[in-house]
Chain length 188, copies 2
C-alpha cells in the first residue's frame, strides 16, 4: 500500500532492537485520512470473505479495527489487558518483545460465539505473539479465524511466514524486509 | 441522542457503586453503526467551532475519537497510560473511581502544540477526573480546549456541572439523572 509505505519512509523512526516507531500517525497521534485508506485496503483484500466480527487488541489495534469495520459493516471486539476477575471470559497470555512484558488478555464470552467468522486486525506483526494470542481466544470460543489483517509486518521475523504456512489468510499492507538507522526496505 | 439512549436502556447494565456497563456496544464490543451516529452527533454539535485536533485517552476513548475525527477531518491524539520514561512528554495523574486506580497519563510533546484548538472526547463523564487530566495536558502544552464531547454523562455526579460553570463548551450525548437496578433515567 503505497501511501502507507511513503508515510513509514517519511515519518517512521527506527530504534535498536528492531523497533519501528510510528507514533506520529498510527500509534499515538493518528492520521485519520491514512487510517481510512487502511480500512478500505483491508476491505478490498477481504471483501469476498464472509466476516461476522473484527477482533483486535487494546490499545493501538482499536482505531484501525473500528475504521475498517465501517467498510465491512460488522462489530468490533477488542481484547482487554489486565487481571482476570471472573470466569466469564476467555483469556490467554501475550508477550510483547517491544515492551518486554507479558500481559493477560481477555474477551468476555458473550462477545465471541461458536462458529462466528472472525477477522483479526492489528497494527504490527513480528514474531506473531499478539496474533497467536487472539487466535487462541477465537479457538477457545470455537469461532473461526477467516482472515488476519496487519498494517505493518516485519517480514524479517518469523510470524508472517509461520501463519501463512499454517494456512491462515494473512494480508499485510506493508511488509518490511529489513530496517536500520539508515532506513526501511520494503518487500515488492 | 435517541438511538444512544435507547441502546443504553436496552443493553446497559447497572452495578452497585454507580457503575453502568456498556460493554456490549461501546467499551469492549463496539457497535460501529451506533459509533458513526455518535461521531456525526458530535460533529453537529461542534461544527461551528474551529478544531485542530481531537484528544482522548486509551483505551475506550480511541474508537469514539477516530470515528468522530472523520467528520471533523482532523487527527486524533490519545493519551497513554503507564510509566513516564523520558521528559519529552506532558504527564498528569488520573484517578478512576470505577477501577479504584490512579494512572500516570502522558502525551508526547510533539503531538500537542502551543495554540492548537483541542476537542476532548471521552466515553464517560462522572466526577470529571479523566477530562480534568486531559485539560491539564492541554494547558501544559499551552494549547486551548475549545470543546468537550462526552458520550454518557452521569449528571448526578459533579463533573459536568463543574465544567459548565467554568465556561467549557461541554456536550454530552446522553445525560443520566439517576440509575439503579430497576433502570436508568435520562435528562430531557
Amino acid at each position: 500500500m503505497k501511501t502507507l509505505i511513503d508515510k513509514i519512509k517519511s515519518e517512521g523512526q527506527v530504534y535498536p532492537g528492531n523497533i519501528l516507531k510510528v507514533d506520529s500517525f498510527l500509534n499515538h497521534q493518528i492520521d485519520v485520512e491514512l487510517l481510512k485508506a487502511i480500512g478500505e485496503a483491508f476491505f478490498q483484500r477481504f471483501k469476498h470473505t464472509p466476516i461476522d466480527k473484527i477482533l483486535t487488541i487494546e490499545a493501538s489495534g482499536i482505531a484501525i479495527a473500528v475504521i475498517a469495520a465501517q467498510y465491512f459493516k460488522v462489530p468490533v471486539v477488542f481484547a482487554k489487558k489486565g487481571e482476570v476477575k471472573h470466569h466469564l471470559v476467555y483469556s490467554t497470555l501475550i508477550h510483547s518483545y517491544t515492551k518486554n512484558k507479558t500481559s493477560i488478555v481477555q474477551v468476555n464470552k458473550n462477545f465471541l460465539k461458536e462458529n462466528e467468522r472472525i477477522l483479526i486486525i492489528d497494527d504490527f506483526l513480528a514474531k506473531g505473539e499478539a496474533v497467536y494470542g487472539l487466535i487462541d481466544l477465537v479457538n477457545q470460543a470455537k469461532a473461526q479465524v477467516v482472515g488476519i489483517g496487519i498494517v505493518i509486518e516485519k517480514g524479517f521475523q518469523e510470524g508472517g511466514a509461520r501463519l501463512r504456512s499454517q494456512g491462515y489468510h494473512l494480508e499485510s499492507l506493508a511488509i518490511i524486509d529489513s530496517m536500520d538507522q539508515k532506513g526501511v526496505q520494503f518487500r515488492e
